[in-house]
Each structure stands twice: as structure tokens, then as C-alpha cells.
């Protein structure tokens, strides 16, 4: 009796068969995070709230007079930057750890990278809700801005994931990339217009912050949509630029992962 043989690569299970694993992994990541209990969820809000309190009291005298709705813009900026940093960190760790499982099973590395993102996503959602409640309390929340906030958030994740992928690939070839990034990420609160506005900077500094910091366009969009008023540097083109930039960078990040995945996987 003859049976038809196919190249072994074509016998890999399809993406659909990993939905179950993705769901289980995401649930496990949630359960091992602060979000496993109600108190834990409250506790996890302490980070952004404390950062907000410290920056508010330091910057309120210097910037609040020139920035209207300072507290809302500050809070939404902090939430965005914390989310940005945590997504990059998680993606870098996930790519590194995925190798351990990928060399022993057929599960694609994308599953291991996507699953842990559930935690920062939920945290971001809860924290952004807090900012929206603050905006609603101050009577400035515009319901028509909610879809724009959602759209900005989607492409913000894409951008942060893309940067995480590029750094993860670099980290494979040069072991200190992780270390270097951990130093740089602490600067993002300061090199992103979170507690100052772009027009308070010199023209060259403004250009640097606007064009070289990938988080800036998104932070400006969040501040605009949450507070309901345009922040300096925001226009319709900025959101388009942010979306296009995130897609291009994601393409680069994903391609570099795919290009070097074999080396990462088969590293002896």
C-alpha cells in the first residue's frame, strides 16, 4: 500500500490551529501579571499615577500656565510613554525566550511574541480609561474622538512592536543592545513632549523631538484626542505620518525577524 508523501515543511499546522495556544498563553500571561486580582490591578495603576503626581508637582509651576488642560495632557502622555516602553521590552524578551520553545516545537515565534502583549494592552486600556474619565470629569471629553484614540492606539502598538522586533534581532547579534535600550527607555519621558509642549523648545530641539522620536507623533495625537484641543505640533498630517511610519517600521522589523529567525532559532 502506497501513501502520498509531502515535503515536511508543508505538514506544519496552519495558523488556525494555534488560536487555542494563543488564547491559553494570553490567559497565563494575564494571570501571572498584577491583573490576576482586583487589588493587583489597582496596584498596577500606582506606577503611572505616582509618575503623574511627581511630574505634576515638579512641572505645574513652570508649564501649567502655558499649557491648558495640563493634567489631562500630562496623564495621557505618561500612559502612552509607559505603554511604549513596556511593549518594546516585552517584545525583546519574548523573541529571546521564544527560541527555547521554537526549537522544540513547530509553534511559530509570532505566537510567543503576540501572547504577552495582552498585559500591556489591558493596562493601557485601563489607564487610558482613567485619563478619559478625568477628561469627562473636566467636561472636555469629545465622544467623536474615541474612534481616533482607538486608531492611534492600534498603530502605536504596531510601532512599539516594530521597534521591539528590530531591537530583538540586534540583541541577538550584539548582547549589549538590551542594556543600552534599558538606559535609553528611561529618557523617553523627557525626550517626548509629555510635560512640556513642543513650542516651548528651540526649533532644532523641536525638530529632533518631532522627527527622531517615534513616540512623539502618537503622544501628541493622544493628548489632542483625550483633551479635545489641538496641542502644538498636531495636525491631521501628523496622524497619517504616525500610521505610515508605524507600518513601514513594522514591515522592517518583521522582515528582519523573519530574515534572521533561522539564525536565532538555530543558534548553537
Amino acid at each position: 500500500m502506497e501513501v502520498s508523501l509531502k515535503p515536511i515543511g508543508t505538514l506544519r499546522p496552519g495558523w488556525k490551529s494555534y488560536r487555542n495556544l494563543l488564547g491559553v498563553l494570553a490567559r497565563m500571561h494575564m494571570r501571572s501579571s498584577d491583573y490576576r486580582t482586583f487589588l493587583g490591578a489597582i496596584w498596577s495603576l500606582l506606577g503611572p499615577i505616582l509618575t503623574f503626581a511627581v511630574l505634576y508637582f515638579i512641572a505645574v509651576d513652570r508649564f501649567a500656565s502655558s499649557i491648558s488642560l495640563f493634567s489631562i495632557k500630562l496623564l495621557s502622555g505618561i500612559i502612552a510613554v509607559i505603554f511604549f516602553n513596556s511593549v518594546i521590552r516585552i517584545v525583546m524578551v519574548a523573541v529571546r525566550q521564544s527560541r527555547e520553545v521554537a526549537i522544540e516545537s513547530l509553534v511559530p515565534s509570532e505566537i510567543f511574541i503576540a501572547a504577552p502583549l495582552i498585559v500591556p494592552l489591558v493596562k493601557f486600556g485601563v489607564e487610558m480609561l482613567l485619563a478619559l474619565l478625568l477628561a469627562a470629569g473636566m467636561g472636555v471629553l469629545k465622544i467623536e474622538n474615541l474612534p481616533w484614540i482607538f486608531l492611534t492606539a492600534v498603530f502605536f502598538i504596531v510601532m512599539a512592536t516594530a521597534i521591539g522586533l528590530v531591537l530583538a534581532v540586534l540583541d541577538f547579534f550584539a548582547a549589549d543592545v538590551h542594556e543600552i535600550w534599558s538606559r535609553i527607555e528611561t529618557l523617553f519621558l523627557f525626550i517626548t513632549p509629555v510635560f512640556y509642549s513642543l513650542d516651548s523648545l528651540s526649533p532644532w530641539a523641536k525638530n529632533l523631538v518631532l522627527w527622531l522620536n517615534p513616540a512623539t507623533p502618537f503622544v501628541l495625537c493622544f493628548q489632542t484626542f483625550v483633551s479635545g484641543q489641538n496641542v502644538p505640533g498636531f495636525d491631521g498630517f501628523l496622524l497619517i505620518r504616525a500610521i505610515v511610519g508605524s507600518l513601514v517600521l513594522f514591515f522592517v522589523g518583521y522582515l528582519s525577524l523573519k530574515k534572521f529567525e533561522k539564525q536565532i532559532l538555530e543558534f548553537v
Partner: protein, 265 residues
């Protein structure tokens, strides 16, 4: 005669070995000077084999001889550098214990996790939960975080979940090494049932030759990435034992390999 369900044709596997994890500065310098970042290592060289449905094949060889690489190639995890592999069904391998486990989570949670890695759905795992806990003898530790288990208990847990999948082609890579005597007996009865089932095809790598003699009919001996010998398990295992004895006598130097001419088909 049962049909051929896996065919490897002259497969070779080359790895890139990165000797030093360079810093970003060193990486840039290496790239600028156009120096190689890696060296090559041929882990397997021109292996050809056929597996028929129902075969129970032992894979023998010293550490680093290419057994795990062969299993990873045959299960599609690695792509061969040269040659082709064709199969009628996927090969489900069991390698390291503790794969994908979350040490912070409980035994119960990790059963869902490991089960999902091995292709079981959540309802399937739920239905088999009692069987898994009973087989692994971890029913009293169901709510204990996995980080508190011993290596042997983690091995029992992984093995107990793995054997729940219903694939017809399984590969075990040194899968019995972690078990204590009572669990060895349990594994023994599982393997006896598995080996008696003509619909199941099994590849089994182990350093325990008695175990391989007991469960398998034929054997492949890998040496330095090549097939040194194939045939009935008793013959191949005895030849391998002689080789190992000679190896020990020469204080780790390669013994004279005359008569060990690779017999690639």
C-alpha cells in the same frame, strides 16, 4: 509490507556557530572589517532513511552525534541545508521537559499550557485532567506552583501530558532519563502498549540501550553526524557498546573506526 511514511533523502544540516556574543561596538567593527560573524558546523551529513508505518526505530549515538538535530529535521523544526524530507503525517517530538512552562503558575495551569503546545484543545485537556494528574502522580500538588517542583516531577508532568496526544508518529528524545523507578515502570507499560500498536510509528533516542532493545526492533547508530550502522536493534546496540568500550580504553580519543564504514543506504 507497511507503506513508507517518511523519507529522508541525503539530508545534511549545517549550523552557524556564533563564538562570541559581541557588543554593538564589536559588531559594528566586525561588519565594517567584513570579518565573518560565525563559523560553520555540519551536524549531520548525508543521512538517508526510510520509515515505514508501524516502525519502532531506536536512534543511538554519543552526545553531539546528531540525534536531536535529526529529530528536529524529521519533525520539520529545522529545514535541511541539503537534501529533502518527505512525510505522510507530521512527527510529534518530545524533547526537553518543562518546555514552555510558566514556573509561577500552578501544575493545573501548566497542564493547559503544555497540552496546548502539544496540540490539545482546552476541552480535551479538561477531559483528560484527572488521567494526567493520576499518571504524573501530582494530583496532590495540583495547586502548587511549578517552580516548587523537582526536575523529576516536571519531567513526569510533561510526559503525562505529551502521551495524551493521539498522533500516529511520535519521536522521543531521551525522554525516560528523568524518571525514578516507579515512574519508569509506568512509562514502561505505556511504551509496551505503544510499541505493540501497529498503527503507531516511533523514533526513540536514548542512552539506555536495554530500554531500546526492549522497545525497538531496528536501530540507527549516528556517529559524528553520519549513519555508522543500521539494522536489528541488538546488532547495532552491541556494535555501539563495543565502540564505546574501545573509546573509553583510548581515554576519549577516537578509536580505530575500521569496520565502521558508514552504511548510508
Amino acid at each position: 509490507m507497511s507503506p513508507v511514511i517518511l523519507k529522508a533523502n541525503n539530508i545534511s544540516k549545517r549550523f552557524e556557530i556564533y563564538l562570541v556574543r559581541k557588543t554593538l561596538f564589536r559588531l559594528a567593527k566586525t561588519v565594517a572589517q567584513r570579518l565573518p560573524l560565525s563559523h560553520e558546523l555540519w551536524a549531520l551529513h548525508r543521512i538517508s532513511l526510510e520509515v515505514r508505518q508501524g516502525d519502532k526505530i531506536a536512534v543511538i549515538g554519543r552526545n553531539g552525534s546528531g540525534k536531536t538535530t535529526l529529530f528536529r529535521l524529521l519533525s520539520g523544526i529545522y529545514a535541511p541545508t541539503e537534501g529533502t524530507i518527505e512525510a505522510a503525517c507530521p512527527v510529534r517530538p518530545l524533547f526537553r521537559y518543562g518546555m514552555g512552562m510558566n514556573p509561577q503558575m500552578t501544575v493545573l495551569d501548566n497542564i493547559f499550557l503544555i497540552g496546548s503546545f502539544y496540540g490539545l484543545s482546552v476541552p480535551d485537556i479538561r477531559n483528560r485532567m484527572e488521567t494526567i494528574l493520576a499518571f504524573s502522580e501530582l494530583d496532590k500538588l495540583a495547586y502548587v506552583p511549578v517552580k516548587n517542583l523537582s526536575a523529576g516531577q516536571i519531567g513526569r508532568l510533561t510526559f503525562s501530558v505529551f502521551i495524551q496526544n493521539q498522533e500516529d508518529f511520535l519521536a522521543f528524545d531521551e525522554s525516560t532519563a528523568m524518571a525514578d523507578n516507579p515512574f519508569q515502570a509506568k512509562m514502561g507499560s505505556y511504551f509496551s502498549r505503544l510499541m505493540a500498536d501497529e498503527t503507531k510509528t516511533v523514533l526513540m533516542a536514548s542512552h539506555n540501550l536495554n530500554e531500546l532493545r526492549r522497545y525497538c526492533k531496528t536501530a540507527i547508530w549516528l556517529e559524528s553526524g553520519q549513519i555508522a550502522r543500521t539494522g536489528p536493534v541488538d546488532e547495532v546496540a552491541s556494535a555501539y557498546e563495543e565502540f564505546c568500550a574501545a573509546y573509553s580504553k583510548t581515554s576519549g580519543r577516537e578509536p580505530d573506526r575500521e569496520g565502521l564504514v558508514p552504511v548510508c543506504p
